[in-house]
Symmetry: C2
Subunit: 400 residues, 2 copies
Amino acid sequence: MKTFSFTIKSQLANSKARVGTISTPHGEIQTPAFITVGTAATVKALTPEQVEGVGAQAVLANTYHLYLRPGEAVVKKAGGLHKFMHWQGPMFTDSGGFQVFSLGEAFGKGISKVATGDEGKSSVNERMSQAKKAKITDDGVTFYSHIDGSKHMLAPEKSMQIQHALGADIIFAFDECTSPHAKREYQEIALERTHNWAKRSLVEHQKLNTKQEKYQALYGVVQGGQYKDLRELSATTLGNMAFDGFGIGGSFTKDDIATAVGWVTDILPKDKPRHLLGMGEVIDLFEGIEAGIDTFDCVSPTRIARNGTVYTKAGRVSLSNAKYAQMFIPIEPDCQCYTCQNFTTAYLHHLIKAQEMLSATLLSIHNLYFVTHLVDDIRASIEDGNFKEFKSQFLKVYYK
Amino acid sequence: MKTFSFTIKSQLANSKARVGTISTPHGEIQTPAFITVGTAATVKALTPEQVEGVGAQAVLANTYHLYLRPGEAVVKKAGGLHKFMHWQGPMFTDSGGFQVFSLGEAFGKGISKVATGDEGKSSVNERMSQAKKAKITDDGVTFYSHIDGSKHMLAPEKSMQIQHALGADIIFAFDECTSPHAKREYQEIALERTHNWAKRSLVEHQKLNTKQEKYQALYGVVQGGQYKDLRELSATTLGNMAFDGFGIGGSFTKDDIATAVGWVTDILPKDKPRHLLGMGEVIDLFEGIEAGIDTFDCVSPTRIARNGTVYTKAGRVSLSNAKYAQMFIPIEPDCQCYTCQNFTTAYLHHLIKAQEMLSATLLSIHNLYFVTHLVDDIRASIEDGNFKEFKSQFLKVYYK
C-alpha cells in the first residue's frame, strides 16, 4: 500500500516557520504550499494542464459539492477523483462541514461560501432563503441542497464514506464550524461535538482505509472559535488522536488569524503537517507560515479573477477600470506566467468588458501563478534564512 | 511587401471541388479549410494555443464587434489583431455588413446573430427591442450599438479603414446582406448598392494598402438572395473587379446553399479563392466544397459547445441528457482531440450540469477539432479521388 509521510527539511531560527515535504500516493508537496481549489472536480475555467502550468502542486475539491453533484458513486465508478478530473498530482477533499455551516447559522451573514460562482450567486441565494436551514444534532447535520432543496444528512461516518469513495490523498474529519457570532456556551457544545465527530471519523476511516490500494491520510480539524482555551483544548484533544495531520478551521476575522493559529501550533505535534482551511490572502500566507502552517487553500485567486481582479506586487487591481484600456504591457512585466508572457493588460481589459470567458481563464492563471509562486518564494526565504526581510519588504509594497 | 496568393493543387474529376493553398503574410491555409470564428478577438473559451491544438489554420474576427469594442484604434495601437489576441496564423475579418443587417431588417426574425452569447442573449434582445433599427442609404448604414444603443455609421470606406486598422490578412468588401423575406424589387436595389459599395471598398482599400508593410487581401462579397439571375449578375460584376477572392454572402435556407453557391462558382474566376460566409454545418461543408468553395467560417462549433452539444460521427448529441451521467468513455473513443483523449462523457456531463466554464472549453475543443478535421478529411478525399464515396458514407451515418 502506498502511504503518506511528512518530513521537515528546515526550520527558520526563532520562528515556527518550516520547510518540508508531504509525500502522498500521487506525489510530493513541497511545503509551505498553496493548494488550488477545484470545488466541483474542476479548477474553474482551467484545464488540468493549465493548473499544472501555474505551478500548482495539489488540488482541493469539496466533499459537499461532489456529494450532491455528480454524487460520490459516480466519481468512484469513474476510478476516483484523480481519474475523473484528469489531475495526476496530490489531492485533498474537505469534510463538508464548512459548507453545511454555510447553509445553517452562517447563511445570509456574508460568511457563506456555498454558491459555486458561475451558476449565479443570486439565484442560489434566492433558493436558499426559501429553504430550511441546516440542523445540527450530535448524530450529524441535516441540511437542504442549495441545488434543488432536497434533504440530506451528513455525519462523520458518511463524510468518511464519501471521501473514501472520492479517493483524495488527504481528507478531513467531519467537524462543526461555528459562527464567530455564536456565544461561548454554544462554542463549548460545538467543540465537544467536533471532538466526538473526530473520533468517529477516525474509527470509520481506519475501517475503510484497510480496503484500499492507496492510503488516504486523515487530518483532524481544530476548532474553538476565538477562545484561546477552547483552541488549546481542541489542539490537545485532537493532537492526541492518530491523525496524519491537522486542519485548522473556523471563520475568523482577519486580525485573529495569526493569534488563533499560534495558540494551536504551539500544541499540535510538530512532526505532522498543518493545513489552514479556506484562507490564503497575501497577509494570511505570511502570518500563517510564520505561525507554523504548512499548507493553505483558498478560492480567492480564481474567484476574484472571474470578477476581473488580479494580484500584483502592489496589491489587488481591478482590470475593468477604464485606465487599463490602452495599457499595452502585461499585468506585471516581470511575471513569468502564461498570461503575462503573452497578453497585454489592454487585451485582458477588453476581454473583461466583452464578458469573454477567456478573461476568467487568463486572470485565473495569473492569480494562481502569483499566489503559488509567492508561497514558493516564502519557502525559499525560509531556507535562505531571510524570511523576515522578505516578508517585511513584500508586505510594505503590497499594502502600501 | 509580403503578399497574397492562391494556388490550386488538384481538382476533383467531373466536379468543382478543388484542393489548394492560400498564402498570406501570416502563413498558409491548405484549402478547403474551416476557419474558426473569434468574434471579439478571442475564440470563445479557448487560448490561442488551444485553437492551434484543434488544428485550426486561421481565425475570423468580426469587424462590427471590434469597431464597437475595444475600437479599431486600440487594436491598431496594440500592433494589430494578431498581436492583440496572440494568434500568429492567418486571420480574416468580415465586413460588418452581416451584423448591421442583423440589427436592421433581420432583427427579431430568428436570423440575427449579433449577441455574442456570453453576455446573455436575452438582455441584448431586450436592449435592441427598445432601440431603433439600422437604416440603409446609398451612402452607408446608420445603426445603433447592441452594447449601449449609441448611434454609428458604417460605409464602404469606413469598413475598409477599420479593417486596415485591425490588420487581418484577408478582409471583405462592405456589402448589404438582404433578408430572404425581402421582395425582388428590394433585392435588386440592394444588389446594385452592394456592387457600388464593392467598387468604393476597392478604391479605399487600394489607397490604404500601399501604406502597409504586409499586404491585406480584399474579397468582394457576392449577394443576390435566392434569385439565380441576380446571383449570376453579382458574380459577373464582382468577378470583373480586382478582388483577391470572393465571399458568398446572404441568409439562405439550408436547401438553397448548394444551388445558390453553384450559380456563383460557375461564373467567378476559377483561380481566386471563394469563402462561404457564416456557413459550416456538416452538410454545408460537403455541398459547399463540391460546389467549389475553398473556405468556410461558422460559429456553430463553439456556440453549440457552450450549450452542451457536441458533434459526433452519428450526428449532434446533447451531453446534458441524463443518460450520459455514467458513460465512462470519451465522446468518441476514436477521436484524437484533447478532450476525448483525457476526459469521459460522464465528466463532461457533470461539468455541464454544474455550469462549469471548463465545459465550454472542452466541448469547443472537441467540436472545432471535429469540424476542422472533417474538412481535412474531405481535402484528402479530393486528392485521393474518393470524395463522392466519403461524402455519401459520412452523411449516411451523420444524418441517419
